[in-house]
Assembly symmetry: C2
Homo-oligomer: 212 residues x 2
């Protein structure tokens, strides 16, 4: 397959490309590096990227992480700004990418655990990820030419614990291996309209009063 | 309690006010009628409304319904326009309303079934409702002074079947009585951070291959 990976130089992107390029042709896209440059906050930049890339069999987005926020001073302007990349940007990857993705091709987007599991300081990220989940449910029944769409909702990945672990004390990380398997399953499998929660929920992790 | 009902003249709003005014002081807000006028698409209008109303014990929003959309021609601009009322507007009711809501007071918002159950032509409504669900999970752990927040996610209400039933064939409606009970439980009960899905899911409704 010919696979476009948006956010290819990020922590998840590098590991995903490493796995995918064993079997597929990879086109790396990123804001500052890659085979093609794109800032997904810009609708025009996404359109130009697709024109440059041409037909593909899969588009995977592992780009864009939202800023943390202070709820006491949070404004709608901050929320809308935060949405531009991870929510509107990923939606535009789908809306503008449809003609370039082959029949039975797929979109795989990235949300995050805060859609379903609240944490302080990430209201913006929660709104984005929750909106993205529902977008994927809808898009899956709207897309034609048997195109598929799924979204992977990661928790913090093991490789990021050193950098971000202090922000999320007590949050069990997911291994990079499991996370990459989630993306590969979406790209190479047949599922559509699914939200792949790449973590165990807090309740499941500490079920019945003991760690499992 | 002193309760602000935003969208008081709508189908749900009228029934909700009828029930609440048996025990509480109701302030009706709406775009074209009510004790106070407000268009929740405008941040300034919401701020003015709260200044005019003063301290309240509960804010309930049953206003704003999203436009339907055509996925084949859907644009990010349409989605953002659609978000202004039901998503950003309801978020602003919370962000700007906090100082006006009493200790242990509450916010009750309204999303919709399409957050979780896809249907054609409502991608915008889905994104809005999904984002709202995650906002409420976050806000519940961020609000101070023991303020509470919940969201009711209705399906089509029985009273609307004549007007909208043809758009959603096969969708089981919820009775107005059950739906109003969901709002009353949020306002007068102690729950917070909950998504009250005021419907049975499609799978539950037709479980085990037969109607239940």
């Amino acid at each position: 397959m010919r696979i476009l990976v948006v956010g290819a130089s990020g922590t998840i992107g590098r590991a995903l490309c490493f796995e995918l390029e064993r079997r597929h042709d990879i086109i790396r896209a990123g804001r500052t590096s890659g085979d093609v440059l794109v800032d997904i906050r810009s609708r025009d930049a996404i359109a130009r990227m697709y024109e440059a890339v041409g037909e593909i069999d899969a588009c995977v987005c592992v780009a864009a992480s939202g800023a943390m926020d202070d709820f006491d001073t949070l404004t709608d302007a901050q929320l809308i700004e935060n949405m531009q990349g991870k929510l509107i940007g990923q939606i535009n990857l789908v809306l503008l990418g449809r003609p370039f993705v082959s029949e039975r091709g797929s979109f795989t987007l990235t949300s995050g655990i805060f859609a379903d599991e609240p944490w302080r300081g990430v209201t913006g990220g929660a709104v984005i990820s929750g909106g993205l989940h529902s977008f994927v449910l809808s898009a899956a029944i709207e897309l034609d030419r048997k195109q598929r769409i799924n979204v992977v909702s990661p928790t913090m990945v093991e490789d990021s614990v050193t950098a971000y672990g202090h922000l999320f004390p007590g949050m069990p990380p997911v291994s990079m291996e499991s996370l990459i398997a989630a993306y590969v399953g979406c790209i190479e499998g047949g599922r559509t309209g699914e939200i792949i929660r790449a973590y165990r929920s807090f309740e499941d992790f500490f079920s019945k009063g003991r760690c499992v």
